[in-house]
């Protein structure tokens, strides 16, 4: 190999200071750009979009009952905050309640299925039927059969949310390392020990993946439930507020409630992503940042 007699090479050969070749310099530049772009890009785009929206509504003189500007929506949000926060609390309770029930139901059923293939064979068809039936289509029946409003709404949100947890957990429980499985057999592990020390930890990453999907679905379920079941009075959730505002053509009120729904969804996702990271970052590939 012929070495180019450049100044750079000479400096490197003299051994003066650390060697930073052009490739390494480019890599460090890319790293810096990546770091800044990571938050600057989404924030920048968001600000630009909101700004354009504000400008467009004002410039084109679009009336509030068609499309309110962001500033009007924010103002409405603060104006309605006392009543909206009560509605938010109702929706939040249903969402979290449904998510917890979906976690217990989906996770529990998945464990049951791995413990007994017979139970899985017997129950799986019903699980699938429950999953593929459009929830809107059976809402009137649920309305008819369940008296308590809270139970109705929870039930609908639960049906929507539990399937991804079930299928992800079942997949995780089934994909244990087969050599580890043999090892547990050789060491005479009991069924409980195998579940507790092998299958549950193996399934944790996919279970948490299911939870992240279900978190969003539980919120959607809660909103859909309120839309279809209706509810008024002081227990009304955010979905009802959206409906109510739309009947009265109070579009800014609609947007204000919608913003709260979206913020709630994002918050649930972020919390679940944080929990996932907390539980997995020490050992699981998905949570490890490569050097």
């Amino acid at each position: 190999m012929i070495t180019e007699d450049t100044a750079e090479n000479k400096a490197a050969l003299m051994g003066s200071g650390p060697v930073v070749d052009s490739e390494e310099a480019a890599r460090q530049r890319a790293k810096k750009v990546e770091k800044i772009a990571g938050f600057a890009l989404p924030i920048g785009l968001f600000v630009a979009l909101i700004g354009f929206w504000e400008y467009w509504v004002v410039a084109a003189e679009i009336p509030h009952y068609i499309l309110p500007s962001p500033s009007v929506i924010i103002a409405k949000l603060f104006e309605n905050l006392p009543s909206l926060s009560i509605s938010w609390w109702t929706t939040f309770k249903i969402t979290v309640g449904a998510l917890v029930l979906a976690m217990l139901g989906g996770g529990g059923l998945a464990v049951l299925f791995t413990q007994s293939r017979r139970i899985e064979q017997a129950l799986m068809p019903y699980v699938i039927v429950l999953q593929v039936t459009p929830i809107i289509a059976i809402a009137p029946l649920i309305f008819l059969y369940i008296d308590s409003h809270m139970v109705r709404v929870l039930f609908v949100a639960w049906i929507v949310a539990f399937f991804p947890i079930l299928s992800n957990s079942a997949l995780g429980l089934r994909s244990t390392d087969h050599n580890l499985n043999d090892l547990f057999t050789i060491y005479g592990a009991s069924r409980w020990q195998r579940l507790r020390f092998l299958q549950l930890p193996s399934a944790l990453p996919s279970f948490l993946g299911g939870m992240r999907i279900a978190g969003g679905l539980a919120l959607i379920g809660a909103v859909v439930a309120e839309f279809t079941m209706g509810s008024g009075g002081n227990a009304a959730g955010l979905a009802f507020r959206i409906l109510e505002a739309s009947y009265r053509l109070k579009v800014p009120d609609m947007f204000a409630a919608l913003v709260l729904v979206i913020l709630t969804g994002v918050a649930i996702y972020l919390i679940l992503a944080w929990v996932t990271w907390k539980l997995l970052h020490k050992w699981h590939e998905s949570a490890i940042t490569r050097e």
Partner: protein
């Protein structure tokens, strides 16, 4: 130093020159999968205390099947897996080709696993765990997670786990096959060192002639279709074995003979 060849498969049992007490034996074991796939045909093997036995053969010769029958993961279709002391059957050490560690547990907790499954509290075996970790040279990595370790280090953890309960018999299924040559050689040296220290019995499945000659005192050569023992070769060179042995004429001679046996084992099948 003399090495003798015993060519009859059935003669794998019987007296050993050094009169080690019998630990366990496979007696005329057949294993048939489905109705017609014969994985193992009439295999007999006496395992004596302190033996280092290599099962050598092409893939599909039934060496892993034999190992599974010894561990009790599989029952023979015919014949018998006999244990002199049934207690030994309940305390086995196993090392697979993959390190097979629990990624969510630290090195120390991985090594604790066999004790944990037997219901022994950690505090009572902490000394044993520390000791085996030191034996495999990983005492400084007790708190590390498997992903932080190299392939060779993971394999050491796997070996430490197999040793944790001080088993009488350790079964190793091509444990170093996935490692690079240098790491592999180092682990071979360390394995012999470990064995001399804790005085256990080892059955080592491999498809490497040189590995089997370097490590074992008995090489059981197996052929396939059906899987069976075709020859047993003794390696009488004394332990500890080192670089000198690896370059000796004796080593070369046994390796050549083992290689010939393996070739005829492969020839017994059609392709390879």
């Amino acid at each position: 130093m003399a090495s003798e060849i015993m060519t009859s498969p059935a003669s794998a049992g019987g007296d050993t020159p050094n009169k080690r007490p019998l630990l366990a034996s496979l007696r005329h074991v057949d294993k048939v999968f489905g109705t017609d796939v014969v994985a193992l045909k009439d295999m007999s093997l006496d395992i004596h205390q302190g033996d280092f036995i290599s099962l050598l053969g092409p893939s599909g010769c039934g060496k892993s099947t034999a190992l599974r029958i010894i561990t009790g993961l599989m029952q023979p279709s015919r014949g018998k897996m006999h244990w002199e002391d049934p207690e030994a059957a309940n305390n086995l050490g196993v090392v697979f080709q993959e390190p097979t560690l629990m990624p969510w547990a630290t090195v120390e907790k991985n090594v604790y696993l066999p004790h944990k499954l037997k219901g022994t509290p950690k505090s009572r075996v902490q000394n044993d765990i520390d000791e085996v970790l030191e034996l495999v040279g990983l005492d400084k990595f007790a708190g590390a997670y498997p992903r932080e370790l190299s392939g060779g280090m993971k394999m050491r953890v796997s070996i430490a786990r197999a040793l944790a309960t001080r088993p009488r018999l350790i079964l190793m299924d091509e444990p170093f096959a996935a490692l690079d040559e240098i790491t592999r050689q180092k682990l071979n040296d360390d394995l012999l060192h470990l064995k001399s220290k804790i005085n256990c019995t080892v059955i080592f499945v491999t498809h490497s002639v040189f590995e089997s000659v370097f490590l074992s005192d008995r090489i059981v050569v197996m052929a396939r279709r059906p899987g069976r023992v075709i020859e047993e070769i003794r390696v009488d060179a004394p332990y500890p074995r080192d670089l000198e042995f690896r370059t000796s004429a004796e080593y070369g001679e046994i390796a050549r003979r083992t290689s010939d046996a393996l070739l005829s084992a492969i020839g017994d099948g059609d392709d390879h």
